[in-house]
C-alpha cells in the first residue's frame, strides 16, 4: 500500500461557451448526449466510397462540403440527423438494382450483348509509313524548289538586265553628293563649295533625272553632257570597264561642262623653266567604275568650278594689287613679274570637248606650286567659315585669338602691326615662286662653284625643313687633308628676293638676287680661307707669321676687292715666304721666297759694313704651279718643309 498511488483520470470536461452574459457569467453548451454523438458519427459514413484513397479524397471534399453544409444547416436545422444516412443507403441500393438488371439482360443476349474489345494492332505495315513519309517530303521539296526557282529567275533577270535600278543609283549618288527634292518633283543637287566656306557667285546646281527607257548604249554623242554620251566617249578613251549607261542622268550647267585645270608656268625670256598644273582629279578610275559615269561628270564639273573660282580670285587680286611692275590680266592668263626677266604665268585652261588626247604631262611638273594654290584657296574657304570663338562670350566676334590675347599679354606696337598684315593669294604664290626660283639659282651657283674650284672643297648642307618662303644652307670650305687646320663656314638664308649671309665671325651680308654676287662672296671666302689656313699651318710647322692682311690695296683695282697676303719667316729666320692671293676672277696665287743673309751683298763705299747683308735679299718668285702637292696648303707645306734648314 505504501508504493502505490491513486491516479484519477478525468476528461477536461470543458464545454463550448455558448454565451457570455453582461455580468460575466458564462453559459456553457451542454455536452452532446449519446444519441446525438451516434447520429453525428453515422452521418459521416459515405457508402459510395470503398477504398482508402477515396476516403482521403472524401475527407478533403468533406471539409469543403462541411462549410457548405454549415451554411445549409442554418436553413435546415429541423431535418432529422439520420436523413443523410438513409439517402446514401437508398442510392447505394438503387445502384445495385440497376447493376443486377443490366447483367440479367446481358445474359439473355436478346437486347444487350457483351463483346470483348479488340486490341489495337501496334505494327502497321512498314511500307505504308515509308510511302506516307515520302509523300510528305516530296510536298515539302516542291514548295522549296518553287521558291528557289522564283529567286533564281529574279536574280538572273536583274543581272541580265545590266542596268541598275534607278533608286539604287540614286542612293549611291546621295552618298557622295548633296541632293534635295524640289516642289515639282525634280531632284536638284549642289556641287559647289558653299558649305565649305566659298563665297563664289557661280552656282553649282545640277539636276538628276531618270534616263530614257530605250537605253542607247552605242548612241550618238549628244551635245549635252549626258551620262550616256560621256560614257561612250570615255569608255573608248580610257578603256575602262564602264557600264555603258546608267539608270540616272545628271545635267550640269553649261558653264561647268568640260575639263579645266590651272597651269602655272615660270617663264624666263620666252623659255619655259618650270610648270605646274592644278587639278583636283586625285581620284583613280576605280571609284567611278563602281558608282557610275555620273560620278566622273560631277567631279569634272566640280573641278571646273574650283578652277574658275581660283582664277577669278587671282584675277581680282592682280587688278587690285599695286606692284612695282603691274600685273597683267589678259583673257584667261595672269602675268606677274617675279624678278627682272622672270615671269609667272597663271592660266586657266578649260576644254569643253571631250577629246581623247589629254595634254601630255609636262615634264617640270611642280607639285609644290600646284598644292600651294589649292591649299591657299582652301585656307580662304576655311577662314570664311570658321571664326574663332571669343572668350568671354560677350567679346566681339571677329578678331583672331592672337589679337584677343594681345591685351592681357601686353603685346607691343610691332606685334600688333604684324597682326594686321595679311597677304592675298596672289602675293603668297608670287612669294613662293620667287623663293623657289632663288633657291634653284643658289643651288646652281653653289654646285658650279663646287665643281669648278677643286682646291678648297666647298661643301653645302641644305636644311631639310624649310618654309615656303625661306630655306637655309650651311657652307663649309675645307681643304682636303687639312680639315683640322682650319675650316671656313657660313650660313646663307635664301629668302624670296634676297640672300642673307652670316659668317663665322659674325658679319652679316645681304645680297640681292643676282647670282654673281653670291659667286663673288664665295670666292672671297675661299681667298680668306686659304690665308687663314696657311697661318695655322705655319704655326704647326714652327714658322713665324710676320704679318698677314685681308686687303692689301696693291695692284690694279679689282671688282672683287683686293689681294690678301701673308708673310712667313722660317724657324731660323733665314728664309722668308711671301704669299699673295687674288681672286681675279680666278684664284691666283703668287709665292715669293727670300733668303737672309743675302748672297749678293758687296760692300760699297755707301754701305761698307758686312752685317748689312743680314737685312735680307730680294724676293724671288716661285713657280708655284710646278711644285709638288695636291692643293695649295699641301704645296705650302712642302715648300716650308724644304726651306727649313737643320742648322740651329
Amino acid at each position: 500500500m505504501s508504493n502505490s498511488v491513486n491516479i484519477s483520470v478525468e476528461t477536461t470536461c470543458e464545454n463550448q461557451i455558448r454565451e457570455i452574459a453582461y455580468d460575466g457569467t458564462e453559459l456553457y453548451q451542454p455536452p452532446p448526449t449519446l444519441s446525438e454523438s451516434l447520429a453525428k458519427c453515422a452521418a459521416r459514413i459515405d457508402f459510395s466510397k470503398t477504398s482508402l484513397d477515396d476516403l482521403k479524397k472524401e475527407e478533403k471534399s468533406a471539409a469543403a462540403a462541411e462549410d457548405k453544409e454549415d451554411k445549409d444547416n442554418q436553413f435546415q436545422e429541423s431535418l432529422w440527423p439520420w436523413d443523410a444516412v438513409r439517402n446514401k443507403l437508398k442510392d447505394a441500393y438503387t445502384e445495385i438494382c440497376v447493376l443486377s438488371d443490366v447483367i440479367s439482360i446481358a445474359k439473355d443476349k436478346r437486347y444487350l450483348v457483351l463483346d470483348p474489345l479488340l486490341e489495337d494492332g501496334d505494327d502497321t505495315k512498314a511500307i505504308v509509313q515509308v510511302y506516307s513519309r515520302k509523300k510528305a517530303l516530296s510536298q515539302a521539296a516542291q514548295v522549296l524548289l518553287g521558291g528557289a526557282e522564283r529567286l533564281r529567275t529574279a536574280h538572273s533577270e536583274q543581272r541580265s538586265r545590266n542596268v541598275s535600278d534607278f533608286h539604287i543609283e540614286l542612293l549611291r549618288l546621295r552618298q557622295n553628293w548633296r541632293l534635295k527634292k524640289v516642289s515639282n518633283g525634280a531632284i536638284i543637287g549642289d556641287l559647289s563649295y558653299r558649305t565649305a566656306g566659298s563665297k563664289f557667285g557661280m552656282s553649282g546646281t545640277f539636276e538628276v533625272t531618270k534616263a530614257e527607257d530605250t537605253l542607247d548604249e552605242e548612241g550618238g554623242a549628244g551635245t549635252s553632257a549626258t551620262a550616256s554620251a560621256a560614257s561612250s566617249a570615255s569608255s573608248s578613251n580610257n578603256g575602262m570597264q564602264l557600264k555603258a549607261s546608267s539608270a540616272l542622268r545628271v545635267i550640269v550647267p553649261a558653264e561647268l561642262q568640260g575639263v579645266a585645270y590651272i597651269k602655272v608656268i615660270t617663264q624666263k625670256d620666252q623659255e619655259d623653266l618650270c610648270t605646274a598644273q592644278v587639278n583636283l582629279m586625285g581620284h583613280g578610275p576605280n571609284i567611278t567604275a563602281q558608282v557610275g559615269v555620273w560620278q566622273k561628270t560631277l567631279e569634272f564639273a566640280q573641278n571646273v568650278l574650283f578652277c574658275k573660282e581660283l582664277f577669278a580670285q587671282l584675277a581680282r587680286e592682280a587688278i587690285q594689287l599695286q606692284a612695282p611692275i603691274p600685273h597683267v590680266v589678259i583673257g584667261n592668263q595672269i602675268r606677274a613679274t617675279l624678278l627682272p626677266n622672270i615671269q609667272l604665268i597663271i592660266s586657266l585652261c578649260h576644254s569643253t570637248s571631250f577629246d581623247s588626247s589629254q595634254p601630255a604631262p609636262i615634264n617640270d611638273h611642280d607639285h609644290v606650286l600646284e598644292h600651294s594654290l589649292h591649299q591657299l584657296l582652301r585656307e580662304v574657304h576655311y577662314k570664311n567659315s570658321h571664326h574663332p570663338f571669343p572668350h568671354p562670350a560677350s567679346a566681339p566676334l571677329g578678331p583672331s585669338k592672337k589679337r584677343m590675347l594681345a591685351g592681357p599679354t601686353a603685346a607691343d606696337r610691332e606685334a600688333l602691326l604684324d597682326m594686321t598684315k595679311t597677304q592675298t593669294i596672289l602675293e603668297q604664290i608670287i612669294a613662293q615662286a620667287q623663293h623657289i626660283f632663288m633657291r634653284k639659282r643658289t643651288q646652281y651657283v653653289l654646285d658650279t662653284l663646287a665643281r669648278d674650284v677643286k682646291d678648297p672643297q666647298i661643301v653645302s648642307h641644305w636644311n631639310a625643313m624649310n618654309s615656303p618662303t625661306m630655306s637655309c644652307v650651311k657652307i663649309n670650305i675645307v681643304t682636303h687633308g687639312y680639315d683640322a687646320i682650319g675650316r671656313t663656314s657660313l650660313v646663307i638664308h635664301v629668302k624670296e628676293r634676297s640672300l642673307k649671309c652670316i659668317c663665322r665671325d659674325g658679319r652679316v651680308m645681304r645680297l640681292s638676287y643676282e647670282p654673281q654676287e653670291l659667286r663673288d662672296l664665295i670666292l672671297c671666302q675661299i681667298n680668306s680661307h686659304q690665308i687663314s689656313c696657311l697661318v695655322s699651318l705655319a704655326r704647326c710647322m714652327a714658322w713665324t707669321v710676320l704679318s698677314n692682311s685681308n686687303h692689301l690695296g696693291i695692284g690694279k683695282v679689282e671688282p672683287l676687292g683686293n689681294a690678301s697676303s701673308c708673310l712667313l719667316a722660317s724657324p731660323n729666320s733665314d728664309r722668308m715666304i711671301a704669299v699673295q692671293i687674288r681672286c681675279d676672277p680666278q684664284i691666283d696665287v703668287k709665292v715669293y721666297i727670300a733668303r737672309s743673309p743675302r748672297q749678293d751683298f758687296f760692300p760699297s763705299p755707301l754701305v761698307p759694313e758686312k752685317f748689312w747683308e743680314n737685312l735680307g735679299g730680294n724676293f724671288k718668285e716661285v713657280r708655284f704651279d710646278k711644285i709638288e702637292g695636291k692643293s695649295f696648303l699641301n704645296k705650302m707645306e712642302f715648300l716650308m718643309a724644304s726651306l727649313t734648314s737643320n742648322t740651329a
Binding site: 584677343m404 594681345a406 591685351g407 592681357p408 599679354t409 601686353a410 603685346a411 607691343d412 606696337r413 600688333l416
Partner: protein
C-alpha cells in the same frame, strides 16, 4: 620687347623743360636717330572709400602707348604690398563701374608725354612729366630691344645714356632693380636679384609708377616747404599754363 630703364633728367637752373627736350632731341637726331612718333604714359589713381579698421587702398591704372592694346593696374593695399595686373583696354570701362568702392582722385592724374626716337637697337623717349597741366620734370626712357635681362646690357645702356645725356649715371642698378629679400618656396629669406630676371612690360609700368609717385611726393614735400621747391619754378617759360608755386600743391 626689350629692357627698359627710366632716367630722370635733372633740370639745370634757368632753363625750361621744353628747351631742354628740344636740345636733347636735336642731339639725338644729329647722332643719327630717327624720330618715330610720339608716346604717352599716363597714370590715374583711385582711392577706396575709407572704412574703419582697414587702411585705404589705392588702385593705379596706367596706360602706355607702346602697348596700345593693354591697360595696367596696380593695387596698393596700404601696407606696402602691390598686386599688378595686365588687362585688355576694356578694363577702363570696368573701373567706371567701380565708382561706389573707388573714387578717382582726379587731381593726381599724371602723365609723361613726348617724342620717340629709334636709334639702331635702342628706342629713346624724351618725356616731360606733367600733372594737371603742371610741369614736373623730364623723364627719359631708354629701351634696348634685343636683350631681355638687365644684367647683360646694363653697362651698354649706361654708356649710351651717359653719351647723349652728358650727365653721370650711377654705376649701381636703378632703384627698381635693387636686391630684395623675399621668402622662397621653403619659407626662408632669400636675396633676390631683380636684374637677373626676365624683363616684362609690367616692369616698365612699375618703374613709371615709382617715378610718378616720387614726383607726387616732391610736390607734397615742396608744397609743404613753400616756395621754389621745384626746380622749374621762377621767372622762366613754362610749357603749360602754370603760373606760380601755389599751383604746385595737389
Amino acid at each position: 620687347m626689350g629692357v627698359t630703364v627710366l632716367q630722370p633728367y635733372p633740370l639745370p637752373e634757368g632753363k625750361s623743360g621744353a628747351h631742354i627736350i628740344d636740345h636733347l632731341g636735336k642731339r639725338l637726331l644729329s647722332l643719327g636717330a630717327t624720330h618715330a612718333g610720339q608716346f604717352l604714359v599716363d597714370c590715374e589713381t583711385f582711392i577706396s572709400t575709407p572704412q574703419h579698421g582697414t587702411p585705404t587702398r589705392a588702385v593705379h591704372v596706367l596706360h602706355d602707348s607702346e602697348f596700345p592694346a593693354s591697360t595696367f593696374s596696380i593695387i596698393d593695399n596700404g601696407t606696402g604690398k602691390q598686386v599688378a595686373l595686365v588687362a585688355d583696354a576694356i578694363f577702363d570701362l570696368l573701373m567706371l563701374k567701380m565708382t561706389s568702392t573707388f573714387t578717382s582722385k582726379k587731381q593726381t592724374k599724371i602723365e609723361s608725354r613726348g617724342a620717340r626716337f629709334e636709334y639702331g637697337d635702342f628706342v629713346i623717349k624724351l618725356g616731360s612729366v606733367t600733372m594737371m597741366e603742371h610741369f614736373k620734370g623730364i623723364l627719359i626712357e631708354i629701351e634696348y630691344r634685343p636683350c631681355i635681362t638687365l644684367s647683360y646690357c646694363w653697362e651698354m645702356i649706361r654708356e649710351m645714356l651717359q653719351g647723349f645725356l652728358g650727365i653721370n649715371v650711377a654705376k649701381e642698378y636703378p632703384t627698381y632693380f635693387t636686391t630684395q629679400t623675399i621668402m622662397n618656396a621653403m619659407g626662408q629669406q632669400q636675396l633676390h636679384a631683380k636684374q637677373n630676371d626676365l624683363y616684362e612690360p609690367m616692369d616698365t609700368v612699375k618703374q613709371y609708377l615709382e617715378h610718378f609717385t616720387n614726383y607726387r611726393k616732391h610736390v607734397q614735400l615742396h608744397g609743404g616747404l613753400g616756395s621754389s621747391g621745384l626746380s622749374v619754378n621762377g621767372p622762366v617759360l613754362m610749357p603749360s599754363t602754370v603760373v606760380g608755386v601755389g599751383m604746385g600743391r595737389s
